[in-house]
């Protein structure tokens, strides 16, 4: 009988340098664990996240993408997170239309002081993605 290996989903997290990445650091220094399949990419601001990055992630086999930024009003660059919020709500509804479930994409605001929130968000998001399983919708676009 062939052994069935449990599928580990892959989650890409874009974190802004000033709030969320620092929040992730705080989660780390407070030893608050979250699943190892969450991998963080540091960007200066959530508004640096080009929709193309997210498309690329899904195309390359990511099962969930989360974007974290400073709380509304607290952006290090004054207004970057507002742009990001608008862009992402458009992109996520388009992805939904393409068949990538709404639950696979998420925007969260995590401040530099919210290490516990960061860990909670990641745990919860990873749980959701685990339940959804593999993202096959863009598989035919993958260069496998």
């Amino acid at each position: 009988m062939q052994e069935v290996k449990e599928y580990t989903p892959l989650i890409v997290a874009f974190c802004c340098n000033w709030c969320s990445y620092a929040g992730a650091d705080l989660a780390g220094s407070s030893r608050l664990s979250y699943p190892a399949n969450v991998k963080i990419i540091r960007v200066p601001c959530s508004c640096r996240v080009n929709p193309m990055f997210i498309l690329k992630a899904f195309q390359r086999g990511a099962d969930g993408v989360i974007m974290c930024g400073c709380h509304p009003g607290d952006c290090h660059y004054t207004s970057g997170n507002y742009y990001a919020r608008r862009r992402m709500s458009l992109l996520f509804s388009m992805l939904d239309y393409m068949g990538i479930e709404r639950e696979r994409t998420r925007v969260e605001w995590v401040s530099a002081a919210e290490g516990a929130k960061f860990a909670n968000v990641m745990n919860e998001f990873a749980k959701t993605i685990n339940e959804l399983g593999e993202n096959k919708r863009l598989e035919d676009l993958r260069c496998k």
Binding site: D25, S29, K39, P44, C47, R48, D74, G80
Partner: protein
């Protein structure tokens, strides 16, 4: 092709305990561009840095990946290391395998695997890194201090002492803040006014310091070294240059029913007033909500009586715009609202007061001229109960989860002062713990408990019942004797929790600096950078950063000033090297990028381009001012033609990171 060196740090056992560092160093050897990889106990140590420098020289490295702690910790360190070995500092990338791996994943297999992926991701990025140089910007040699309490006063005096211009913006009509309201200060029992007011006078007389009292911050633009701030000088309805502070107007005013803010609303003041005798500046102010002349045009008595013709009912707010190199936030605190604490009967009985109100009741300049009298009937009290931790260390959601830090000490002070002045008054204190760390603090508390016979009861108060005879029945528990206690008191004093002044939220937003869940401003590093905010050029002084007493506040204020002086002493600042820039061959000058730029860094120029065959074309293209660009990247995503990109976080680099992470 880059020649990349990978350096895996053990961080002692911090990383090495849950990540197989040797396997990480081995696994990345076959990655594209990697020509060298090694591991070492402490990469950030001098020996570790020497190892990097040596490898750069020996292997002719062009790029460096350090797998270590967060880049927020040591990116700057390793960039310097690389620079000293002759390669561009921006050719260094950090893979964060401590905060993101070893500290949160217990399983070695899982941790090592993730560390390898993060290392590969950083390698993929370095392969596309390009040398960058930071531009330089000038520093405006002037500081702004927001808040004129003891924190702001101390910071401003120290900065002015070093020879720099300082402006203080204070929302109240006078500087002095909370400390001016206090009667005595622990642990020496100095009179607060005696030690504070000379400092206030120093501020007023210092030619380097400009005071903007009764003023608010309207808008903040710019960045470290180059802030541009709009200050709203609210209308005082007084010609500041003419007013001599004689106080004749206060007696003339017929509208005397305003609550005296300085006395915590315990007595009244006229519509035109000077907050207290030693106010700086000693200039009257009119409360427009209360003034009969301003409200309905009928009165004008104060203008008639004013000997210096200083009153101007038509005055309007004025906006002042100034440039600063650094900003100190010293917005202070207030006591919390007690609406959620009905059990203490604060809203039912006048004889239940907060500790700050007690300060005014005991102060010679207060409503009772310093004689302690019951607020309800003006009688001498015989029995006073203090309740500690009202709203502090409260996890029920009604109060604050933190310890307000100052209450144990000021309650010991109050108890001691009352017993000293009125030996017939019995004093009880209900406490959860008595916390007295600090020089001569525990000795002070012991004096209160042992020499002054203050009745310390370990336990909490369940309820305060106002009695028909005007007394207050305090029902509490005594945990040491394990019994319920009932005490009939004449007054109850609540050690009310302190919280940041609510206006700090708006200030934090204007300064784009972060705030925690309790509205305290976040420092850049909890231990190593406690007076800097994460936003460059913004510094934190006093209780706006966390609860603290006067000596701590003054220390922090001076530390803040030292940081500001260090910044203002520089003529230029190294700017941000990671700035945006267009690929002019793709740009069509559509203006979308300029519209989203929060700094106004993008302008347009007409440029001539060669088309080949001797032909040229003139096109409008965007231009980024490198001194102004802060590198957020908003324009890069907005650009419809994909011409705009961000150095250091280029589209190709982030795409490569995404690919490296998703590679299975």
């Amino acid at each position: 092709m880059q020649r990349i060196g990978v350096f895996v740090c053990w961080c002692g056992s911090n990383i090495a305990a849950t990540v197989d560092v040797e396997r990480v160093a081995e696994a990345v050897k076959s990655e594209p561009g990697v020509v060298f990889s090694t591991q070492y106990q402490y990469m950030c140590s001098e020996n570790g840095q020497q190892l990097i420098r040596q490898a750069i020289k020996e292997h002719n490295l062009t790029g460096v990946v350090v797998c270590s702690c967060s880049p927020r910790m040591h990116e700057a360190t390793f960039r310097k290391t690389a620079e000293s070995a002759g390669i561009n500092p921006y050719m260094v990338e950090i893979a964060n395998i401590r905060e993101q791996v070893s500290w949160i994943h217990k399983d070695i297999e899982e941790g090592t695997e993730k560390a390898i992926i993060l290392a590969r991701t950083a390698i993929a990025k370095v392969n596309l890194n390009a040398p960058l140089t930071a531009g330089e910007t000038k520093v405006t040699k002037r500081a702004l201090v927001i808040g004129g309490g003891i924190a702001g006063i101390q910071s401003a005096l120290d900065i002015a002492e070093a020879g720099y211009e300082v402006d203080i913006v204070e929302t109240k009509p006078t500087i002095g803040g909370r400390m001016a309201q206090l009667d005595k200060t622990f642990p020496t029992l100095d009179c607060a006014a005696c030690i504070l007011t000379p400092k206030m006078v120093d501020v007023a007389q210092n030619e380097k310091i400009t005071l903007y009292t009764y003023s608010e911050i309207e808008d903040v633009k710019g960045f470290v070294g180059n802030f541009s701030v709009k200050i709203r000088k609210k209308a005082r309805y007084i010609n500041e240059d003419a007013c001599t502070g004689c106080g004749v107007c206060m007696n003339a005013c017929p509208s005397k029913k305003g609550l005296n803010e300085f006395n915590q609303g315990l007595n009244n003041r006229p519509a035109i007033y000077i907050p207290f005798a030693q106010a700086i500046p000693n200039i009257a102010v009119i409360d427009p909500q209360q003034c009969l002349k301003i409200k309905n045009g009928k009165c004008g008595l104060c203008a008639m009586k004013c000997p210096s013709n200083a009153i101007d009912y038509t005055q309007t707010d004025e906006i002042v715009e100034r440039e600063y190199g650094a900003i100190v936030v010293a917005t202070g605190y207030k006591t919390i609202d007690l609406d959620k604490f009905g059990e203490y009967a604060y809203n039912e009985s006048k004889d239940v007061v907060t500790s700050l109100e007690l300060e005014r009741l005991m102060n010679a300049a207060g409503p009772t001229k310093g004689t302690l009298l019951r607020p309800s009937d003006g009688e001498h009290p015989h029995d006073i109960t203090f309740i500690q931790c009202v709203g502090s260390r409260d996890t029920s959601g009604c109060g604050k989860p933190y310890c307000s830090k100052i209450c144990c000490m000021y309650t010991a002070k109050h108890a001691m002062l009352i017993r000293e002045k009125y030996p017939d008054v019995k004093v009880h204190i209900f406490y959860i713990d008595v916390r007295t760390p600090g020089k001569n603090y525990d000795e002070f508390y012991r004096r209160a408990a042992e020499q002054y016979g203050v009745d310390y009861i370990k336990g909490m108060v369940g309820k305060v019942y106002p009695q028909p005879n005007g007394k207050l029945l305090v029902q509490g528990s005594d945990l040491i004797n394990n019994e319920q206690v009932l005490i009939e008191s004449d007054m109850v004093v609540l050690a009310t929790a302190i919280e940041p002044e609510p206006s700090v939220r708006r200030i934090a937003t204007l300064l784009t600096t972060s705030i925690d869940t309790n509205n305290f401003l976040t420092e850049a590093h909890a231990k190593l950078r406690p007076v800097e905010s994460p936003t460059a050029g913004i510094f934190l002084s006093g209780v706006c950063q966390g609860p603290k007493d006067i000596p701590e506040t003054v220390s922090q204020a001076s530390a803040c000033a030292a940081k500001v002086i260090g910044l203002l002493a520089k003529n230029t600042l190294k700017g941000n090297a990671c700035v945006a820039g267009p690929d002019e061959s793709m740009c069509n000058g559509c203006s979308v990028c300029a519209n989203v730029c929060p700094y106004g860094a993008i302008t347009y120029v007409d440029k001539e381009f060669r088309l080949g065959g001797g032909k040229t074309e003139t096109r409008r293209v965007s231009q980024v001012n490198q001194a102004i660009c802060q590198g957020c990247g908003a324009c890069t995503v907005a650009c419809p033609s994909g011409a705009m990109d961000l150095k250091g976080f280029a589209n190709k680099q982030i795409m490569a990171e995404v690919e490296a992470i998703c590679k299975r």
